[in-house]
């Protein structure tokens, strides 16, 4: 029955491609979370009268974020080939897709982090200051925990964008389900392979969404 519906599908290669996609997505999400929060914190804290009030640092960070957020992902991958080769040693394979994925997604996420941080009640930060908290304590004990539900729902949205980026990266040789759909599904006109790749990608997206919603909901004590 399954062989009848999907005559051209090589299940082993689907499994392999799925693992590649999951690997790219998960690693990219983890680093995007980290770098996005760092960039978001800089964007927020360098505001006038905020903890690190610094116009120049703010301008540089904002320019970096806006630039990399605006470059279409497919162009970004190509642009970053020399950089990727330098740090990964190759521009092919799933690991080679990571720098572009992270550099493409972190600025996007950084803006969400910035918005989440702005939502925090100023009074709470003030209360922490009035208790003698240092900047470090304010960041790790107030800003991040208080905005965590928003940070998690932000990374959920970003992770879904990242899954679709991995598919695009596949086209230029990163492997994964996008690669499978393009090489086999499109170039050999095996539509059943395209269909199965789509289904698996959707399942991955749903899984991320479900997980993100659950965590965010659990963290939200408001």
């Amino acid at each position: 029955m399954i062989d009848f519906l999907f005559p051209n599908v090589n299940w082993e290669s689907v499994l392999y491609a799925t693992l590649e996609t999951i690997y790219m997505s998960v690693v990219a999400v983890a680093f995007t979370f980290l770098f996005g929060i760092m960039l978001g914190l800089v964007l927020f804290l360098t505001d006038k009268d905020n903890l690190w009030d610094n116009r120049i640092l703010k301008a540089i960070t904002a320019a970096f974020v806006n630039t990399f957020r605006s470059i279409p992902f497919i162009i970004l991958i190509v642009l970053l080939i020399p950089f990727t080769q330098l740090i990964v040693g190759s521009f092919l394979g799933p690991s080679a897709a990571l720098p572009a994925l992270i550099i493409g997604a972190a600025p996007f996420y950084a803006r969400m982090v910035e918005i989440a941080l702005r939502e925090i009640d100023k009074g709470v930060i003030e209360a922490a200051r009035s208790m003698g908290a240092s900047n470090r304590e304010i960041i790790f004990k107030v800003l991040l925990p208080e905005s965590m539900p928003a940070l998690v729902s932000g990374i959920t949205v970003t992770s879904i964008a990242l899954v679709s980026y991995t598919a695009m990266a596949g086209v230029i040789g990163a492997g994964g389900l996008g690669d499978l759909a393009y090489r086999v599904g499109f170039q050999r006109r095996d539509d059943d392979v395209t269909l199965i790749a789509t289904i698996v990608i959707l399942l991955i997206v749903f899984a991320f969404q479900y997980l993100g919603d659950r965590i965010s909901h659990k963290l939200d004590k408001r």
Binding site: A128, S130, M131, G132, K221
Partner: protein
């Protein structure tokens, strides 16, 4: 304990400089509950925020206990702030932490080891009357309970001074009273100096020892609460005093109310605390040959004695009436003719 000298704060805004605190001199003795009252925009919050340097002064000096607040380095300032706590109108609790964790927060900052922290938190929870609610989140508490958490948090590091910025303004009258009682309680128990900001005179009346009246960044009047209530000098202060002594109706309305009756002269007796003898009316009627008819009034008894107004009609021989009035005044009660036909 606290001494301010020519303290000044000017904000630079797009509309030009705004002087929020204008050369203020102020002394607060140790263990006092000191009230600062003023209308919105008078500069009260700015003044209290200058004390713990949430705002940097534009000029002048701030001395709190042994700290010269205006000359401290960042590190010393953080140290000093552990001894100068603050509570807020909107509580400012961390919603991601339980009651227990919120109270533990300043202890974490002070580097108190975990075990000791937990012990201290339990003590504080009992002190503010929140036993059994330690594992609740702030969102599960009422306003009054949230402020209790705020107070427990503020007391965690055994501060010398407690700053309260409109700490009861978001609460209903009953809850306000219970929070004020708690403040008096900790003031007595711990000998804590409390600076309290408000725009409600009854808060001052209930718990403060001294009061300063603020207007446009300046202190226009200052003194013992009883003294200020009895002899308010500034127009501003008089208005505030009326908040507690006037019944709902204004004098004019009350005057009109009495024109229909056959009372010839209506007096307003204003009680502003002190040791006015309790059976005053009784004494007046017994001692002098007058009749007293109480028309309307509201008196409440407080720590400082009775507060409020009585509207009375007094009949009798002119000179008996005037002796009765002199007697009443001697008891520390103000007398004013508000209607005379």
């Amino acid at each position: 304990m606290i001494s301010l000298n020519q303290l000044k704060k000017v904000f630079t805004t797009k509309d030009g400089p705004v002087t929020a605190v204008d050369h203020i001199d102020l002394q607060v003795a140790e263990g006092q509950i000191y009230g600062i009252i003023g209308y919105s925009g008078a500069g009260k919050s700015t003044l209290i925020r200058l004390l713990n340097r949430l705002e940097d002064p534009s000029g002048g000096n701030i001395q709190i206990a042994d700290w010269k607040m205006d000359q401290l380095s960042e590190k010393e300032l953080r140290q000093a702030r552990q001894e100068i706590s603050m509570i807020f109108q909107h509580f400012n609790l961390l919603w991601s932490r339980t009651v227990r964790e919120n109270i533990a927060f300043p202890l974490e900052i002070a580097g108190v080891p975990k075990e000791e922290r937990m012990e201290r938190v339990d003590e504080l929870i009992d002190l503010v009357g929140l036993s059994g609610r330690g594992d609740s989140y702030p969102s599960q508490l009422s306003g009054g309970q949230k402020q209790r958490v705020g107070i427990a948090r503020a007391l965690a590091n055994n501060p010398k001074v407690l700053l309260c910025d409109e700490a009861t303004s978001a609460l209903d009258p009953k809850t306000t009273d219970s929070i004020l009682e708690l403040l008096v309680d900790i003031n007595k128990k711990l000998g804590l100096t409390i600076i309290l900001i408000t725009h409600e005179m009854h808060v001052i009346r209930k718990i403060c020892h001294r009061v300063a009246v603020m207007e446009e960044g300046k202190i226009v009047e200052e003194g013992e609460v009883l003294e200020v209530f009895r002899r308010p000098k500034e127009a501003m202060t008089k208005e505030f005093v009326k908040q507690v002594t006037e019944p709902e109706e204004t004098q004019e309305a009350a005057g009109e109310l009495f024109t229909d009756t056959d009372n010839h002269i209506v007096y307003q007796l204003t009680f502003v605390g002190g040791d006015a003898k309790k059976p005053l009316i009784n004494d007046v009627v017994k001692t002098f040959d007058v009749t007293v008819n109480i028309l309307q009034g509201k008196i409440s008894h407080t720590q400082h004695g009775p507060y409020g107004s009585l509207f009375v009609a007094m009949e009798g021989e002119d000179n008996e009436v005037s002796k009765a009035i002199t007697f009443t005044r001697e008891q520390g009660v103000e007398v004013e003719v508000i209607y005379n036909d």
